[in-house]
Amino acid sequence: MFKFRLIGIISLFSVLFVLAACSEESTSSGSSDASSNTLEVIKDRGTLNCGVNDNLTGFGVVAPDGSFEGFDIDFCKAIAAAILGDSSKVEYTPLTASARFEALGSGEVDVLIRNTTWTASRDRDLGNDFTAPTFYDGQGMMVYADSGYDSIESMSGATVCVLQGTTTELNLDDRFTGSGIPYTPLTFETNDPLQAAFEAKQCEGWTTDKSGLASKRAGFPAASGGPEALVVLAETLSKEPLGPLTRDNDSELYDVVQWVVFGMMQAEESGITSSNVSSMAANPADPGMARLLGVGFEGGEVQDFGFGISPDFMQNVLYQVGNYGEVYDRHLVPLGLTREGSLNAQWTDGGLIYAPPFR
């Protein structure tokens, strides 16, 4: 009986050695063989497969009737509106933090818009391409107000709850171990046991992106003390620029996603909203606005940037979804994440939201 198990192990070991022998890190990591044109695939298919979060208030949640809504969800809708003309032609695939990159890499989703941080290793090692960040966040630590912690140093010896497979886990370790502060991490696969553990004070701290902390804090049940019982420490453990990503070597789709995002930012800067986009398109105020909306200026030529989609894609986007500010106000302001003074204000207001020219 175990003779066969032995055979099985030996054959697997030989497979292992063969694999190891061919192991010199291949240059095309993560992506499949040739560069694929996902844009054409999407147009053929007629729907956009969007990888999202179904469990983060404000960014991506699923309602009991099966519909998705959130900040990231709106960007999915915008891309679908741009490529397919209809923001409802999206198929949402909820993904856990630890599974999202493989889902993108294996082709299960076309684009991943799931509050994902742009890092060097994710860009190269995991074979992804990040577009401009849609939300500049930072990692924070949330503790109980009555615990008296005021800085990371004071959390020496504490237990911290964190989600598995995220940059949060690695940043947490960098911060604590790098400063020689002893701590114990409790790594969970999903948020529900994490939340239960935090509520029972099994761990003293909860660390994730500050936007996530804001939403969790806002939803903290009154029975356990409500939002006032929690406080988010001032220190930001890391930079967390969140944004959409596509696969490596997928330039057509990458450019479309990139410029839809920029278009929404530019629209807000130019004052175009979902309510006035039709009148603006009929009567653009300046050549820049005309190029953005894909119409001619005072009877001039329509400029097609060659994205592979119809030149007036921004009109669909703005009409069906809205500009950057509308999307932000719709989903993130209720969480208490105000734009004034933060990195997410327009560049004209001192923030980092800046769209390159549509020219």
Binding site: S32, N55, E91, A99, G107, D192, A196, A223
Partner: protein, 383 residues
Amino acid sequence: MRILLSRIRENFLGSKLDVILSITGALFIYFILSTLISFILNSDWTLILVNRKLMLTGLMPEEEIWRAWTIFSLTTILMTTSIAFWFKINIKSSIFYILLLLIPLLIFTTKNTLLYVLFIMILSIVFFYLGYRSKNSELKNIVSRIIMISWIILLPICFLILNILDGPKMTLWGGFMINLILAAIAIFAGFPLGILLALGRASSYKLIKLISTLYIEVIRGAPLVAWLLLAWFVLPKFLPNLFGLSDLNIVVRAMIVLSLFASAYIAEVIRGGLQSIPKGQEEASFALGMNSISNTIFIVLPQAIRIVIPTIVSTFIAIFKDTSLVFILAITDLLRIGRLIPEQQQAFFGKSIESLAVVALLFWVVSLVLSQISRTIEKKLNI
């Protein structure tokens, strides 16, 4: 009175050890029951009422729910007919079945669904009566065949109902329904595959035996969660680009993996059965002039399967419970929903234990029904 006392003495107080055991046992039962009862009475069960639909059918849109109701009614009617036809009906067992099927039903009924439920119950009673009457009539054989064929085509019909008229896409199927469907597919597909593997492992062709054994040992060597993850991440890279195979959605891949996994375990069980058939059977069939294939299909397999039916049914139950592991693929099955409700819905924050208890109850009911069926089959076949 004296008889009662002597009975008590016999059962509980036979010896010193018995006394200690009885006292400890009684205390233990008291402790468990009191915690349970206080838990049931003190918790807020509106959780279930609000989330019925979510737990049973997942994220299916409201307008597609009629499909779930159709499937449910078909299954219930078929089940009551089968029970009436094949099981021995006496007062004790009928009360048991009625209670068993009624409790979850009552939990999941509201005034909107009352009509549906009444309709199903009336139909069930009608078919129950029909089944009971035809048990002893001349139509027995025909009715028996009709019922068996109905069970076999139930699964394809369910798929038809779910997909007909532009049905909801597979990733929206969820809740308890997806657990049942995944289990049914895994069993239906895994069973014939398991038979083939068992025959392969027992065959005298060295190569086929080697491959079958390798397959079974490797599949059984790793936990199911590892295989499911493999299906998610690695399988798509290996599928050919034809027939849209490389675009299979996650639910179909979960079905494939569960079937392959089930087949390995079923193969082991059947192999045990095959080994216990006396070699004389095979020799007799060859003496009668049958070739190897007929021998296998008509003589050896029926006997082997008959012997291991109890073990196979317990493997089926295990497969059904293992469908809860698809949480790792972010498929919204019953368990995942049960864990998400206390977390996402404000009203039910912190009620994780209640939510989990309902999930456990649903799994438990189905497993219990399956094991009862197994026991009845055992009795019928006189094992």
